[in-house]
């Protein structure tokens, strides 16, 4: 059976693929590199004639190339952190939902407690104590991203646990990890994909928030967050330095958000 993919899903996915591949390919085609200093054009506003379509920053670096580099970093960290949080969330959710009882109570209490925390403190403390490396940033972001996933997967697993094929697998002596991997995980894949899509924008926002505060991606590497931090400092003289990376961030977050909502409506028309 072929299922028609909704138009909104196709449009958003296409936009994302285009932006992502542009952020990888276009910097190679540009005359400038992310770290090239163009001393003849320091802090110029966007112009074709100068060869800087988005203008340059205080050091004469081309903002078009730097913004694309930032998009690449933000997308990569957002996707990888989502992947890590999906792994943690699915594991915790499936184990809690399948085993039930004391394990379930303990794990879900933990999720409740973590939910009620001002998590930003822990992300900040984590980035500070793990050192400011990209890996530390990734882990710190993923550490808060898995909570909703765990709840969703647990609820799904509880429903699946009662189904005949699980009982049958148990009856013929399949081990618990094998049941989880072969029978539970594939059956929760739909909602997992939907919620993962909805997790990506929030983790991208978290990454750029940390980079904005100077805790995330460090100069000279560019991320949308640290580009905006520089832009906010220069906004009176050079507003494009804030507006260009800002619009890219908002655009990306918006498109992924719409994609997630559309996927959810498609998979589960009742949910809103």
């Amino acid at each position: 059976m072929r299922v028609a993919v909704p138009l909104s899903v196709r449009v958003c996915a296409t936009v994302l693929v285009v932006v992502a591949s542009a952020s990888v390919v276009l910097p190679y085609l540009s005359h400038w590199q992310a770290a090239t200093l163009d001393w003849d054009h320091v802090a110029v506003s966007p112009s074709w004639s100068a060869g800087h379509v988005f203008g340059t920053d205080r050091l004469g670096r081309d903002l078009f190339v730097r913004t694309l580099a930032g998009v690449r970093v933000s997308l990569a960290i957002g996707l990888l952190a989502t992947l890590v949080s999906v792994v943690i969330g699915v594991t915790v959710g499936a184990v809690a939902g399948f085993l039930g009882g004391r394990t379930d109570a303990l794990l879900m209490r933990l999720v409740d407690v973590l939910y009620s925390l001002p998590y930003i403190f822990f992300v900040i403390l984590l980035t500070v104590s793990l050192g400011r490396s990209p890996l530390a940033l990734l882990l710190a972001i993923a550490a808060v991203g898995w909570l909703t996933m765990a709840r969703v997967v647990r609820a799904q697993t509880q429903a699946l646990r009662q189904r005949e094929f699980v009982t049958a697998a148990r009856a013929i002596g399949v081990s618990t990890p094998a049941i989880l991997w072969r029978h539970i995980v594939p059956n929760v894949a739909g909602p997992v994909v939907v919620y993962a899509t909805l997790t990506v924008p929030s983790l991208i926002l978290l990454e750029s928030f940390l980079s904005f505060l100077g805790l995330g991606v460090q100069e000279p590497a560019a991320s949308l967050g640290n580009l905006m931090a520089q832009g906010a400092a220069e906004m009176e003289a050079a507003p494009w330095m804030l507006l260009v990376p800002g619009s890219f961030l908002v655009g990306i977050v918006l498109v992924i958000g719409i994609l997630g909502d559309a996927l959810r409506d498609w998979v589960d028309p009742r949910a809103r």
Partner: protein
């Protein structure tokens, strides 16, 4: 035991866990509060460590910190000499709290009506205008809105001050409050709409209409209470979100609140300052969550704490 009381008491071990975790994390971080460009002379450093009790074993320091904490003493700031954390909180917290409370009120006061309006006008023009705007609001973080608002209304239009704080003058608060509340406002509007749409399909609403109750009576007595249950549940995360945003908004608008201390404190390894803030804000959010749990019982009797605990639903 009274379930409400038990719900409140449950916060004590949670808070203890938070303090312990934060203490461990902040002490795990390499470096210390007295690191400078130029290394201190060893005997100076030893004296400093002794003065702040950093020469004791970690477990003893932890015990001492907890002991002071239960007496309401957050200790001296290690980086901002001559200030105790209590001093800093006394000055900064009122600023941050007024910013946060106004933002939350704005988000609720505008977000809920927008959500209800969009639900009433499902599929019509009004919803088609409002909800994309709300999607946009969710996507624009406060660190984009804050500088942009300052740029437009402060620098180009000269309507409002770009930054600053004159003893809580209202005009200083407008831009920060708007910037801080927008993402929360948009989320609350979306939540309210989704929840109101569910409630609108329920039979009791049809009955209310059928027996000719006035639209306003139906709205306030029959639609809003069940609609607000998930919105209320979001208050805890909303408060956490506003707190997160305030770190940026206070910096952008130069407000003398607590927000700027957190990042600086963490980077400077100002142990007591960071821990003090974690304790204050975590307690605040725990209290909000507890209040929300109790309030939900008023809106939906099925969610009363005693009903939940005894398993009767």
């Amino acid at each position: 035991m009274n379930p409400t009381l038990r719900r409140l008491l449950w916060n004590i071990p949670v808070l203890l866990l938070i303090v312990t975790l934060a203490f461990a994390l902040v002490r795990l971080a390499p470096g210390g509060p007295f690191d400078q460009e130029q290394a201190l002379a060893p005997d100076v450093k030893a004296n400093l460590d002794r003065a702040y009790g950093l020469d004791l074993p970690l477990s003893q320091q932890y015990g001492r910190y907890l002991w002071r904490l239960v007496h309401g003493d957050f200790g001296p700031s290690m980086r901002l000499r001559d200030f105790t954390v209590n001093d800093l909180l006394r000055v900064g917290l009122p600023v941050s709290l007024s910013l946060g409370v106004w933002s939350l009120l704005l988000a609720l006061g505008v977000g809920i009506p927008i959500g209800v309006l969009a639900a009433y006008h499902r599929g019509h023009g009004l919803e088609r205008v409002l909800m994309p705007l709300m999607s946009l609001g969710v996507a624009i973080p406060s660190y984009v809105t804050a500088p942009t608002l300052a740029l437009v209304f402060g620098i180009y239009l000269h309507w409002l001050p770009v930054a600053g704080w004159e003893a809580g003058a209202a005009r200083d608060l407008v831009l920060p409050v708007v910037a801080l509340s927008l993402p929360t406002l948009a989320t609350i509007a979306r939540l309210t709409r989704a929840s109101a749409l569910d409630v609108l399909e329920m039979s009791f609403l049809r009955t209310a209409r059928a027996k000719g109750l006035s639209p306003l009576h139906t709205l306030f007595w029959h639609l809003l209470p069940p609609t607000l249950v998930p919105v209320l549940a979001y208050l805890g995360p909303a408060a956490a979100g506003i707190l997160t945003g305030s770190l940026v908004v206070e910096t952008v608008f130069g407000l003398p609140g607590m927000g700027r201390y957190l990042v600086q404190g963490a980077l400077n390894r100002d142990y007591t300052l960071v821990l003090g803030q974690v304790v204050v804000y975590a307690s605040l959010i725990l209290v909000i969550n507890a209040i929300v749990d109790v309030l939900q019982g008023f809106l939906d009797p099925r969610l009363r704490l005693d009903a939940r605990d005894s398993g009767r639903l």
